[in-house]
Structures are given as structure tokens and as C-alpha cells.
Symmetry: C2
Subunit: 216 residues, 2 copies
């Protein structure tokens, strides 16, 4: 089962590595990180380099496509190569998936028209502007398109996907293998739960906040 995780400059690492850690454990997984060209790709903060071991040309028809998010999604959306690859791959995938603002790339490729989909909580309006019915849920299935909320939500998505692909027992074995029994020290992981001033701080600093951007 070919699984392609798309890389591009300035992606967010955990968006990709969370699902990788789950999906790579599926029986028969042939998982590869792909980019326009083989070689090193740097993450959003410049502190981590991951190697794309295959080019897009070398993986034209994976069964599963996963698109991570990150500030580099703007560049990915602006170029035609990634979008064309996504459109072509999507024709034959079993599952086309994204984490965080990766859904904006799926949207820019025209794959989310009228579909229920999610994204990072700060990017839901932008997602709606790309044709999707943007919903604030952690993991959203709409046909073969599966989208996850911000960054860490890719782990939950990948486990849900693992259950659909290989059954609940396999998914549970993977969950126990990675000891995914989350115990966050705070209950601040969503805008509904975090203190209002912290939500406001992140909203104000966000690149999706046009009002604040205009003030700067």
C-alpha cells in the first residue's frame, strides 16, 4: 500500500510525523516522503531538515496521499506542480488526506468543492473561501477525503484511518504501541477551551487575521 506524504519548504513537522508514526505501522505500508524534487526540505522554523526520498514524478498514483500544513502552504498553493500532482493522484487514491492548513492546498487544487472539511482553527475562514464547507471538528471524513484540525490532530486522524483500512484491532494495537494515552497538562488545546486572552493573542498574531495584518 503506497502512502505518499507531501513535503514542501516551511511545512510543519508534526503535521507529517504524527500520521507517519501511525500509518507506517499498517501492515504492508510502503510510505514515502515526496516533494517536487528528491532531497532536503526544511520545516517552518528552519530548525529541522527532512529528506524527501522520492520526487512527485516517482509516486504518481499512491493509495493514500497526506498533505501537511504550515506557513509554506502559501507557496505550495501558488505553484502549479503540487496542485497538478494532487489532482492527478486524487483520481486514483483510496484516501486523500490533510492535516492542519494542508487542507488549504487540497482546496486550492479544487478537491474540496462542496466537501465538509476542516483545518487549523485559525484557518477555517480561509478554507471556506476555497470552496469547502468548513467545519470545526477534529477529524472530518467526506467520502474519500479526510481532513484534520491543527498540527497534533493528524495523530487522531491517522488512527481513525488505520481503523477503516485495517480494522479496529490493528488501530488499537498501533495506538498501544505508540502509547497514545494523551494527558495534556492543560485543557487549552482548542479555542473553546483555552483562556480567552490566549485565544485573542494567537488570533491577533495569526497570518490569517487580515484585520491585525492591516494594522501592522
Amino acid at each position: 500500500m503506497e502512502i505518499a506524504i507531501l513535503l514542501y519548504e516551511r511545512f510543519t513537522a508534526l503535521d507529517a510525523i504524527g500520521p507517519y508514526e501511525v500509518l507506517s505501522r499498517l501492515p504492508g505500508a510502503d510510505l514515502a516522503f515526496v516533494a517536487s524534487e528528491r532531497g532536503e526540505v526544511r520545516t517552518d522554523n528552519g530548525m529541522l531538515t527532512i529528506v524527501a526520498e522520492r520526487s512527485l514524478d516517482e509516486m504518481r498514483s499512491p493509495e493514500i496521499v497526506l498533505v501537511p500544513g504550515g506557513p509554506g502552504e502559501v507557496g505550495a498553493r501558488a505553484g502549479s506542480e503540487v496542485l497538478e500532482w494532487l489532482r492527478t493522484a486524487h483520481e486514483t487514491t483510496t484516501w486523500t488526506t490533510s492535516v492542519c492548513t494542508g487542507s488549504l492546498i487540497l482546496g486550492a487544487a479544487g478537491l474540496l468543492d462542496g466537501k465538509r472539511a476542516t483545518s487549523h482553527w485559525l484557518a477555517l475562514q480561509t478554507l471556506a473561501g476555497l470552496g469547502a464547507e468548513a467545519v470545526s471538528e477534529r477529524v472530518v471524513f467526506d467520502g474519500k477525503i479526510v481532513t484534520a484540525a491543527g498540527v497534533s490532530a493528524g495523530i487522531d486522524m491517522a488512527l481513525a484511518l488505520a481503523a477503516r483500512i485495517a480494522g479496529e484491532e490493528v488501530a488499537q494495537a498501533i495506538q498501544l504501541g505508540i502509547e497514545y494515552d494523551p494527558q495534556p497538562p492543560f485543557d487549552a488545546g482548542s479555542p473553546e477551551k483555552a483562556p480567552a486572552e490566549i485565544v485573542a493573542l494567537l488570533r491577533d498574531r495569526s497570518r490569517f487575521n487580515e484585520e491585525a495584518a492591516a494594522r501592522r
Copy 2:
């Protein structure tokens, strides 16, 4: 604030990348992946290559050390270079930390004698054999040594650490930034919660199960 995340052949990616995604967001973080030599390091399943951008020699006194786990820990424990680096670095760290079986490397370096510490649930006995008081908890602080349970527990540990270093508000802002509001599809992330047959399956397949290994 220098943060060194140790890499070695056949480490488990999420052990390192979960905490990276949290700690790299701390104000003033100068985070680097380090290994015996600069260059490419492959993960446990051979499907992912990460670049160590600094050698151990280039980062002798980081404030924070993080040691991930993975089957390659056996090799790391057998060599003297990593252990010597850890012993020296630990003399001046503010925090010396591990995720999953990374604690076995800390133990082999002699840093856990009499310390409360944890590891992957399958490795707790091995951890006890290395001098630690092994406890089944998700995140364990003992002085400046902080250890986390299996793989995904590094995210919880890093958030707890972020709060100690920069305050609860910063930690909560990071948590909201990575939208860490976990919603696993199953409640199977610990041996106490997972179905007994799945616990037995993983225990039987485990490289830490000497009885099963003797049968093979």
C-alpha cells in the same frame, strides 16, 4: 536557550518530533538535532531520514537534552560516545530528558541511579535493571531529570516542561497553537485500558519479552 535532540540510527521519529514541535516554539529556543556526526540519520522503519545538523562535539553544553527512544537505543547504549556525551552534558544542563526507551540510554549513562523514571510500558523492567526506580506514569520529574512514557508521551512532557521554563501561559499558547486537544478514536493507549488480547499480542512480540524471545 540551546536545546539538543539526540539522533541515532533507528530512533523512533515521533519521540523526537513531538517534543521538537513544542520546545522549538519556546521564546529564544535554539534547537538542534545532534548525532555522533553531522548528516542523515534513518528512523526505526527505514522510511524516514532526518538530518543531524550538528555533531555532538558542536553542542557540548546545551541547556536541555532530549533523548528519544526506538530500537536503535540498543546500539546507542552499547557505544561509549553517546554515553560520554550525555554524562558530560548532564553536568551543566538545566533539564535532561527522554521519551520512551530513550530513558534506557540515560540509565546506561548512569544518570538514573535511584531516580524515579519511566519508559515505554514494555520497557519498565529493563529500565529498573539500569538503576532507576521505574514507575508507570506518563511524565516523571525527578530533579532536573524528566522522562516520558512511550512515543506520543513526549508531547505531554514537552508541554509540562514548557510551563516550568516559560510559564503556564506560554505553554498554553503553544498547546493552542498546535491545537493539542486530543480525541483518540479508541481508549486503547495504555496497557490498563487496551483490550487484554491486544496487550498480550504486543507483549508477546516485544523485544523486551525474554520469555517469548526464548521460544522463537
